[in-house]
């Protein structure tokens, strides 16, 4: 199993450009998440999905869009890149858990995005 894979690893964008960050998992996990991590900070949830066709906003969704057409893929779209979106982006996935259980979130290696 490859686990959670993300592409690209690095990207530099100009202000106003658009791009899609790709995320794929091969573990048949229902839940998928996008986080961003700014320098010296923890992770903030951008969007998440509980299954194909279902997405919802996290803490910091402005400036981003997502879609979930398959269980495996959860791309993140930046429409009009701004310097404030310079960050490292992590995708993660997990199985749904029962009320008292927790199924670990598995993280991808991250995409480092710089907007100039």
């Amino acid at each position: 199993n490859a686990g959670v894979t993300q592409t690209p690893k690095f990207r530099i964008l100009k202000i106003g450009q658009s791009m899609t960050l790709q995320c794929t998992q091969d573990m048949n996990h229902n839940y998928m998440y996008w986080y961003r991590q700014d320098p010296g900070m923890g992770l903030k949830l951008i969007y998440y999905s509980v299954g194909a066709g279902i997405t919802d906003k996290g803490e910091v969704p402005n400036g981003y869009n997502v879609s979930r057409s398959t269980t495996e893929d959860f791309p993140l779209r930046l429409e009009l890149a701004a310097p404030s979106q310079t960050s490292v982006y992590f995708c993660a996935s997990s199985y749904p858990g029962q009320f008292d259980s927790y199924n670990e979130q598995f993280f991808g290696p991250g995409t480092r995005l710089t907007v100039l």
Binding site: Y31, Y33, Y35, G40, M41, G42, L43, K44, L45, Y48, V50, D56, G58, E59, F90, S94, P96, G97, D100, Y102, N103, E104, Q105, F107, G108, P109, G110
Partner: protein
């Protein structure tokens, strides 16, 4: 607003020292608290704590939760250079999809 605060933000110690990392939280609908270790790239899961006063242990690492005072500590004894990393605390909320609210992390550096 749900909030998780870690301290210190940065810590430098010598190999062999014992360190204590702190995590306090103010959230509605608390379900559990998790600790992650982040080296160069993605975070890796260390512990999940749900009940107060029950210590979780894995080798030289241990952690405990106090749900009355709303905090957790992560202890690392006999530190090694390989323990150098960012340690992240996160709170899992009762709402669905196992969403996590992360603290800002503690950057731990172990010098030989």
């Amino acid at each position: 607003e749900d909030k998780v605060v870690q301290s210190p933000l940065s810590l430098v110690v010598h190999e062999g020292d014992t360190v204590t990392l702190n995590c306090s939280y103010e959230v509605t609908n608390f379900r559990s608290l998790l600790w992650y270790k982040q080296e160069k790239k993605a975070p890796t899961f260390l512990f999940m704590l749900t009940s107060s006063g029950i210590e979780k242990k894995s080798g030289r690492l241990s952690s405990i939760l106090d749900k009355k005072e709303l905090f957790s500590i992560l202890n690392i004894t006999a530190t090694q250079t390989g323990d150098s990393a960012i340690y992240l605390c996160a709170v899992r909320l009762i709402q669905g999809a196992q969403k996590l609210v992360f603290g800002q992390g503690t950057r731990l550096t172990i010098n030989p």
